[in-house]
């Protein structure tokens, strides 16, 4: 188990380094530069040169890359070009919101998908209806779904705020602002979870031991919840790990629709401004989260199925 963790950790570090280095390389290939983005259209060449010097952009790319790696070794992510603040500080400001959003989205997706799947395998007429609904939801683009929900819950039945985020000072208000975006994410991701849960429940239900349980007269509801759900949730957990990553990317779109100041909207700004250090820090943080999700899933796997060994 310890050896497994160590290996995974090393692998994670290599993954992160690769991801961030690739971003560094891609940014060099992209046209556009941060100086123009900051100074605007009609900056004089002198102003450009002065700013380039201040930002250290006059040095060769390799040198910048090595400096950045060196900083990383000291746990220093550098300073954002656009905001003039340490990248780590910007990430700290934005991370809680994105994590809360992804967590609520996952929770919501599970809360919609699992009961749905259980109902679907129990009552076949519902199966068709739910599968149809789910296919419909899956085919809707996330931003479109977001706009529909926005109009429904914020404009027509003004129950929830339409957009923005008031900060964490009042957790209740914060939650109210997160509900609609989280619901958007949940609805768009519930579909695939539902289909997976349904398929794996059906598979488990055809096993011998289920037949034995039923033959012994165990009530059907108990068969489902006690004997079928746990083994059926194994593939679901794998999927959840993957979904964690999808949710992060989906969050970019949702954050844009609901004007939430999370990692996603920060990434969009960083890309537009060609803010190299910030973008690298963001990629590092997002890759780190995805690696973390996968690690958690692997560990959870062992808890759910004792037959899984860490090797």
């Amino acid at each position: 188990m310890q050896g497994f963790l160590l290996r995974r950790l090393l692998l994670a570090l290599v993954t992160l380094w690769l991801a961030a280095s690739l971003v560094f390389a891609f940014l060099l290939l992209l046209p556009g530069d941060p100086v123009q983005a900051i100074l605007g259209l009609e900056a004089s060449p002198e102003a450009r040169a002065a700013l380039e010097r201040t930002l250290g952009l006059d040095r060769p790319p390799l040198r910048r890359y090595l400096d950045w790696l060196g900083g990383l070794a000291r746990l220093d992510l550098g300073e954002s070009i656009r905001y003039g603040k340490p990248v780590a500080e910007l990430l700290r400001e934005r991370l809680p919101l994105s994590l809360a959003l992804v967590f609520l989205g996952l929770l919501g997706a599970l809360a919609l998908a699992l009961p749905g799947a259980l109902l679907a395998v129990r009552f076949s007429p519902l199966d068709l209806a739910l599968s149809g609904l789910v296919a419909f939801l899956q085919s809707l683009p996330t931003f479109f779904l977001g706009v529909i929900l926005l109009y429904l819950f914020a404009v027509h039945l003004p129950l929830l705020p339409a957009s923005g985020f008031p900060g964490w000072a009042s957790p209740e208000e914060a939650l109210r602002h997160l509900l609609l975006p989280a619901l958007t994410l949940a609805l768009s991701r519930a579909a695939i979870l539902f289909r997976m849960a349904r398929a794996s429940l059906l598979e488990v239900l055809s096993q011998d031991y289920i037949r034995t349980a039923r033959a012994k007269g165990v009530p059907e509801a108990l068969v489902l919840l006690k004997h079928a759900l746990k083994p059926a949730s194994l593939p679901l957990v794998t999927l959840l790990g993957l979904e964690g990553g999808f949710l992060l990317t989906g969050a970019v779109v949702v954050e844009a629709v609901f004007a939430l100041p999370g990692l996603g909207s920060l990434a969009l700004t960083a890309l537009e401004a060609r803010d190299y250090p910030l973008l690298q820090g963001l990629v590092l943080a997002m890759a780190g989260l995805i690696v973390l999700f996968n690690l958690l899933v692997d560990l959870l796997y062992g808890l759910l199925d004792p037959r899984v060994e860490y090797a």
């Binding site: 046209p31 556009g32 123009q36 983005a37 100074l39 009609e42 905001y83 339409a162 957009s163 004007a259």
Partner: protein
């Protein structure tokens, strides 16, 4: 009849209205990189801060005229070489320090130093010296007369902060305006608060202003309808404007801007280095149809690089009437025909919805005369580096929002690559003419020359469209400066 009734009701409610206090929440499209207009030319900075927080010696009013701000009055010498400004007394900055001539001298000494990192040192190049005669009198001496001197002093670049403060102004701007800066919540918005020490008694009316960054037009509309914001400050799409106009809870304000939506042509490269091809483009595009069809009636066709609301405007929109046959003939003369159609790449900038739609419609109109424009959509940073800085393009379309910016045609390295000694001569003549009326004549001649040379295809003056809740009063009808001025805005209750 209906109108008189509405006016009566309006007058009555005004009489009853409570005009003080409250918070105004305004959506703007983007977040600027810094909050100091002397550190970046991002238009979002003056949009929020010009005259609301930061002021200069003079400012633009709603009509675009230059009126006193921190200078009570001023006087130019008969030769236009010496300008004396008499400062308003008793003015304080938001940090409590008094505003004096020292602050003005510091500001303009820095502004005209190209090494200081100030956005536009060239605006101040003709200034030879800035001196404080006493704490409330400042004298500017110019090297040569400059017709745009006062105009440049009214620009957002010319706002004045406390002496010695440069770096801090970028994130924590301190000015003399009716509102003081409170907070910049990164990615969320900028908060302003009423400045109790403002020199104009009784102003401003509002207690707080919150400019929220809402990049998505749908999100803006939803936020307005849900009451999260009360105003969409600019950039309401024509469709949304029509929808909101019909809803009694909202009103739509439309007026003029200083934005010329311009189809830029690379004058130094085939096919547009041939004036016949550029003229053919003018005849082949039906501007009226574009205003009606694409902009649903919002916008005014123009024929040169100046907006109808600006001084010394010359209406040249009729110089090249829509005439596809003439366009075809000109193309034939230039060597293009059915067997050898004119082909080029038309580069559109992704973040600008008006311009993109107009570009697509223009490409469709061009295809009517057999021209094949290949549309290419690029991201903003790409547009800036490839088209704007590198002039690596054939045709593009963008709104030039800066007021009074015809001088860009005097720069042969500007991305149109228009190299005309005659134009440069006229521009210098305009700048050096002290008499405003004679300068105006030269300005008109400049507009005519550009149109005759068909440097670009000037499509229309972009409409100013803002939408707001019914109770928002005193919003500027026009946008002669890139500023959403909220000094006299109030909420009727």
């Amino acid at each position: 009849m209906k109108r008189t009734l509405a006016l009566l009701v309006l007058g009555f409610s005004l009489a009853l209205a409570q005009t003080r206090g409250g918070e105004l929440r305004v959506a703007i499209l983007a977040e600027p990189p810094v909050l100091d207009p002397t550190a970046s030319t991002s238009q979002e900075i003056p949009r929020m801060l010009y005259d609301n927080v930061l002021q200069g010696l003079v400012r633009f009013n709603e009509k675009g005229e230059i009126v006193p701000a921190l200078a009570e009055r001023w006087q130019g010498s008969p030769t236009s070489l010496t300008w004396t400004f008499y400062l308003r007394k008793g003015v304080r900055f938001h940090n409590g320090s008094p505003f004096t001539a020292e602050d003005v001298v510091f500001k303009f000494t820095r502004a005209r130093d190209p090494k200081s990192g100030h956005t536009h040192p060239e605006y101040y190049q003709d200034i030879q010296s800035v001196e404080a005669l006493d704490p409330y009198t400042v004298v500017f001496r110019l090297r040569q007369p400059n017709q745009d001197f006062l105009f440049n002093l009214a620009r957002p670049d010319s706002v004045i902060g406390p002496k010695g403060r440069v770096e801090e102004q970028k994130t924590n701007p301190i000015g003399t305006g009716p509102f003081r800066f409170v907070a910049w919540e990164r990615g969320v918005g900028v908060r302003l608060e009423r400045f109790d020490g403002y020199y104009e008694p009784g102003l401003p009316y509002l207690d707080r202003v919150f400019f929220r960054f809402l990049p998505d037009q749908n999100a803006q509309l939803a936020a307005l309808r849900a009451g999260d914001i009360q105003v969409i400050g600019l950039g309401v799409s024509p469709e949304n404007a029509l929808v909101l106009q019909r809803d009694p809870a909202f009103k739509v304000v439309t007026g003029f801007t200083t934005t010329e939506i311009t189809v830029g042509m690379n004058n130094s490269r085939p096919p547009f280095n041939d004036p016949r091809v550029r003229r053919a483009m003018q005849y082949a595009v039906d501007k009226k149809a574009l205003v009606e069809g694409v902009m649903l009636g919002f916008g005014t066709p123009i024929g040169s690089h100046r907006s109808p609301g600006e001084r010394c405007y010359e209406d040249l929109s009729g110089l090249y009437p829509y005439d596809p046959a003439r366009a075809r003939a000109l193309l034939q003369e230039a060597g293009y025909g059915p067997n050898n159609p004119l082909r080029f790449t038309f580069t559109l900038a992704a973040p600008y919805p008006y311009e993109r739609r107009l570009g697509e419609a223009i490409a469709a109109q061009l295809s009517q005369i057999g021209v094949q424009a290949r549309l290419e959509v690029v991201e903003w940073a790409t547009w800036l580096s490839r088209v704007f800085r590198g002039a690596d393009y054939q045709m593009t379309i963008i709104g030039h929002s800066e007021p009074h910016d015809i001088g860009i045609y005097a720069n042969p390295n500007y991305y149109f690559r228009y190299d005309s000694p005659r134009f440069r001569e006229l521009y210098t003549q305009y700048l050096r003419t002290p008499d405003p009326n004679r300068a105006c004549e030269v300005m008109k001649a400049m507009q005519r020359l550009l149109a005759q040379d068909a440097v670009n295809l000037w499509v229309m003056n972009a409409p100013y469209i803002a939408a707001m809740r019914r109770e928002v009063m005193g919003w500027w009808q026009n946008q002669p400066t890139p500023s959403l001025n909220v000094t006299r805005v109030y909420l009727a209750r």
